[in-house]
């Protein structure tokens, strides 16, 4: 319990007033010589137990009444049922809002969303607490922004719903950085979240540092976690896994793959999926019997009259969470999947070119051109998605062209030259070749990164057969790299340059520290490895690199909402929103789902796939993450009408009244007994 006027609690010793008065009264007794002691002894023995109990009760009620008066004057605050953290009015209140799509969940059609409920309750609490400063933190890159009127938190555009996940570790790091630099006083950090795993990333190693950093802050910091539980109502999320334009002319059609997912397996239902393209919509009933269902390669004829580039939306009927009922997609004729293979010997690069020129889907055009070193600048590098470089590291004009290719988002995979020691002084992206290393017996990769990048598992979760590869000879690397696949002894088989030199458009700042330069430490030649023989890994690796390289070449792009999408939309011309605005959502492009026109390009922004997984972080894990810090958890409920913090002095006044009434009842004299001989002289005379 906290108090708005905690200094009034200095009057708490007044609680002992009834005891003092009682002791004084005890000292003011009269002494009477008494003859009929036997009756007194008998009466006292009879009444001792009850009398003592009544005495204590009366005393306790009087003390309770005094204490309740003191508490009432101190203006106590109630913080839910669990808040027992002591403290008074904070100097700074910092609100971290989880605006992720899962916070749009409702507990019933008429109720507010979790986010709206949390905003309202936190705003009311802040108004009641009356902190000197109130800050809102929703974007770790921008840091906290000051809120002039805590009561207006609900209506702040920045506090609106977003399609981006809440990166809670980074948000807390941003909060810590602000508190450390601003020198704020006593701070309360209000976290309003539904504890989704993807938002909290509770397994991230950053949590230990966050905990220690907050513990080292000089000012007292209390955390108030308004934790929303999962809504009871069923929820289905819709997503487009692929939207591929196929055919030409009148045969042109959009092949779309729609995935449905729900929080928990329930009875079979049929979900009407509405696909809307260019104002025309069609509905397809998709049966959903387990947790997931896929409408694969659903063909929608477009005809010759329709522009080859366009956007659409897939939607399902309203359910518990409106934020995952829509998914936007964009489509266009795929740019040519052009790969340049720069090789010392054309024969050695043949297997690489073969793997690059096989399109992953029917109807896609893919080419691979083998060029000699030195001819890169004139080989049409500007529309190439991937450059495979199996030659001494580039120098001169080749290097400049390759760097320009990397700078615009093109992908480069470098393979070792036949004699790396001759050019050991050269580096590219800060990495250079050292010397060949023979492996006898041949070695196979023992570790590789399965969660992301070129060797990640497939969408169905299956791992690539990287472990089946055999390397007979690898070339050493010098420089700072991130290993994607490692051989025994820690030698990399596939690695990325650790620092990206890719910059966005002028003035846009870094897009994201993702390197476009990878190093494969062996070749596809049979004498070096089984990359060509076990072609699946090589094929997937190259096709994924081509996909990444196509992104800057394509006129349409599908991105996840958040800082990356916002940066992409900020980088070019002024984005124009094509899809209708979402009510109650943030207005900043890139943070809410929709389709934007960025010059000639179309960008579809959607929630990340992890938002559809309704996995929650255990309370115990969060308690562990905040171990040693003052964390108070307040259970919230979507649509809840209660207040997180409210003044409860009225309750204490009621307690005063109840205590006084109880004390009065206990002090009431016993009802008069029927008059008997001992009732007085007159009765005695009558009896006598």
């Amino acid at each position: 319990m906290t108090f708005l006027q905690p200094w009034m609690l200095v009057a708490l010793p007044l609680v002992s007033l009834p005891i003092v008065i009682h002791l004084i009264n005890q000292r003011r007794f009269q002494t009477v010589p008494w003859a009929a002691m036997r009756f007194l002894l008998s009466a006292r023995a009879l009444s001792r137990g009850y009398s003592r109990l009544r005495h204590w009760l009366v005393m306790a009620l009087r003390m309770l009444a005094v204490a309740a008066v003191v508490f009432a004057v101190g203006r106590p605050l109630s913080r839910g049922w669990l808040a027992l953290a002591a403290g008074g009015r904070p100097d700074t209140a910092l609100v971290i809002l989880d605006r992720s799509p899962s916070m749009a969940e409702r507990d019933g059609a008429a109720s507010d969303t979790k986010l709206a409920t949390g905003r309202r309750q936190v705003a009311e609490a802040l108004v009641t607490l009356g902190a000197t400063r109130t800050l809102l933190l929703v974007d770790p890159d921008r840091g906290p922004v000051e809120v002039a009127d805590p009561g207006a938190l609900e209506s702040l555009p920045a506090a609106g719903a977003s399609a981006a996940p809440a990166d809670m570790p980074r948000l807390l790091e941003a909060a810590h950085d602000y508190l450390r630099s601003s020198g704020a006083g006593t701070t309360e950090i209000w976290i309003c979240s539904d504890q989704r795993s993807n938002d909290w990333a509770i397994d991230a190693p950053a949590w230990g540092g966050i905990r220690d950093a907050f513990a080292r802050l000089p000012q007292p910091v209390r955390f108030q976690l308004v934790a929303f539980e999962a809504a009871a109502a069923a929820n289905v999320a819709v997503r487009v896994n692929a939207a591929v334009l196929e055919g030409r002319g009148d045969e042109r059609r959009l092949s779309i793959t729609v995935a449905l997912a729900r929080d928990a397996a329930a009875g079979p239902v049929t979900v009407p999926v509405t696909i809307e393209i260019g104002g025309a919509s069609s509905t397809v009933d998709v049966p959903l019997s387990e947790r997931e269902a896929v409408l694969a390669n659903h063909a929608i004829p477009l005809g010759a009259a329709t522009e080859p580039r366009g956007w659409g939306r897939v939607s399902i009927p309203a359910d518990a969470n409106a934020a995952d009922n829509d998914f936007f997609f964009v489509f266009d004729e795929a740019p040519p999947r052009r790969t340049l293979v720069v090789a010392e010997e054309a024969a050695a690069a043949r297997s690489l070119a073969l793997a690059a020129e096989i399109p992953p889907e029917r109807g896609l055009a893919a080419t691979a051109t083998i060029v000699a070193p030195g001819a890169l600048e004139t080989s049409g590098l500007e529309d190439a998605a991937l450059v495979l470089w199996q030659a001494p590291l580039p120098d001169g004009s080749d290097r400049a062209a390759l760097e320009a290719h990397v700078a615009r988002g093109g992908q480069v995979i470098l393979l070792p030259p036949s004699r790396p020691e001759e050019t050991s002084d050269r580096t590219f992206a800060g990495v250079g070749w050292t010397a060949w290393r023979e492996h006898d017996p041949p070695v196979a990769p023992v570790t590789w990164r399965t969660d992301r990048d070129l060797l990640a598992n497939t969408r169905s979760g299956a791992a690539l057969p990287v472990g089946g590869l055999v390397a007979r000879r690898t070339c050493g690397l010098a420089g700072d790299v991130v290993t994607l696949a490692g051989l025994p002894g820690g030698h990399p088989l596939l690695a990325r340059a650790a620092t990206s030199e890719v910059e966005g458009a002028a003035g846009a700042g870094p897009v994201r520290p993702v390197s476009n330069v990878a190093f494969l430490t062996t070749t596809a030649a049979p004498k070096d490895s089984t990359l060509a023989a076990e072609g699946v890994v090589l094929y997937c690796l190259l096709q994924r690199a081509i996909e990444r390289g196509l992104l800057p070449l394509s006129n349409v792009r599908l991105v996840e909402a958040g800082g990356e999408a916002a940066a992409i939309l900020r980088a070019g011309a002024t984005p124009r929103r094509l899809s209708p605005p979402v009510a109650g959502a943030v207005t900043e492009p890139g943070w809410t789902a929709g389709v934007y026109a960025l010059g000639d390009r179309l960008v579809a922004v959607n929630r990340p796939q992890a938002e559809d997984a309704a996995t929650l972080v255990d309370d115990a894990r969060i308690d562990e993450a905040f171990a040693g810090l003052a964390l108070t958890r307040i259970e919230g409920q979507a649509g809840g009408t209660g207040r997180l913090v409210q003044e409860i002095w009225r309750g204490f006044l009621v307690a005063v009244i109840l205590a006084l009434v109880g004390e009065g009842l206990l002090c009431l004299p016993s009802p008069p007994r029927p008059q008997t001989a001992a009732g007085g002289p007159r009765a005695f005379e009558a009896a006598a």
Binding site: F29, P33, W34, A35, R673, F684
Partner: protein
């Protein structure tokens, strides 16, 4: 009656004059040494016919009933009741509790206490007892009865055997004057002792607050009755003891010992009265079963009124002559 030259505070001449009109009589035959106004178990020469008896040689011929001889041709002698004097044994409880009442007690906080027109309200119990004993002793002596007194506290404190002489009455009055309430009550033991030591039938008048175990009292009364004594009891109670109307926390000091009880009277009043009720009810049952002439007296009542009720009750039971 020889006037007592020493003034006695416990004697009210006007009350004595009024009470003298009603004789003090025993409810049982008494065995006296001289002729008196009380029935005797022996035949005597009073005018009260008792019975006929066959003539035996040696009988006084003047007591032959010649009419009976004429009717039955047999000799009968008429016998008459013997009147004898009374032995009045006053038993005064002088234990500490008899000092209760009067100015020693706080008048404040006591409600409902009866008041007397003569201002006798709040009289100490021992003073009230002195008045009863003194008045009865005087009345008995005035009608030629022997008067004795015993003071009972934690034992038989003082004892004067019954005598008929006026000088002895003065000694009795002196004992009354000198009686100081002190010590514990051992009235039952004293009554047992008196039952053994009073050899002839007597009227035993006990004046006490009877703050003892009723069972012990029952035994003592039974002992006295077994010895054919006529037992009368004046049970003195103070209005404050009955009302128990204190309002402030009070420390009650035992008048017969060193014990003290601190209590809030408001809390225990109800149970105190209940205990007192139970005690009085038990005592009433006891006296009814043992045939004791029992008089429960509030010390706020006029002594004369109490004694008049006592004397008239006895005379009515016996039949005035």
């Amino acid at each position: 009656m020889i006037p007592d030259r020493q003034p006695r505070a416990f004697l009210d001449p006007q009350a004595l004059a009024r009470l003298a009109a009603v004789p003090l009589v025993a409810r049982k035959p008494m065995v006296g040494g001289v002729s008196g106004r009380h029935a005797s178990p022996h035949r005597g020469s009073s005018v009260e016919f008792a019975e006929y008896r066959k003539y035996v040689p040696g009988d006084d011929l003047r007591r032959l009933d010649w009419r009976a001889f004429g009717r039955s041709d047999r000799f009968y002698v008429k016998e008459y009741e013997a009147d004898t004097n009374l032995r009045l044994c006053l038993v005064l409880d002088t234990s500490g509790s008899m000092g209760f009442g009067g100015a020693a007690q706080p008048a404040a906080g006591v409600r409902g206490a009866g008041t007397r027109a003569d201002g006798a309200a709040g009289m100490r119990r021992i003073d009230y007892a002195r008045r009863i004993c003194g008045t009865l002793g005087y009345l008995a002596a005035a009608q030629g009865d022997a008067v004795g007194i015993s003071c009972a506290a934690d034992g038989l404190v003082r004892s004067l055997p019954p005598r008929r002489s006026p000088a002895h009455l003065r000694l009795v009055f002196d004992v009354l004057d000198e009686a100081v309430p002190t010590g514990e009550t051992r009235l039952p033991e004293v009554l047992h002792e008196l039952a053994e030591t009073i050899r002839q039938r007597a009227l035993v008048v006990i004046v006490s607050d009877l703050f003892v175990e009723p069972a012990a009292l029952e035994s003592a009364f039974g002992h006295l009755r077994f010895r054919r004594h006529d037992v009368a009891v004046f049970h003195l109670l103070d209005p404050q003891e009955m009302a128990f109307a204190f309002h402030r926390p009070t420390r009650f000091l035992d008048m017969e010992g060193s014990a003290a009880i601190f209590a809030d009277p408001v809390e225990i009043a109800d149970r105190y009265r209940r205990a007192l009720d139970d005690y009085l009810a038990g005592l009433r049952r006891l006296v009814l079963e043992s045939g004791i002439d029992y008089h429960r007296v509030l010390t706020s009542e006029p002594v004369e009124q109490v004694l008049a009720r006592f004397l008239v009750g006895r005379a009515a039971a016996r039949g005035l002559r």
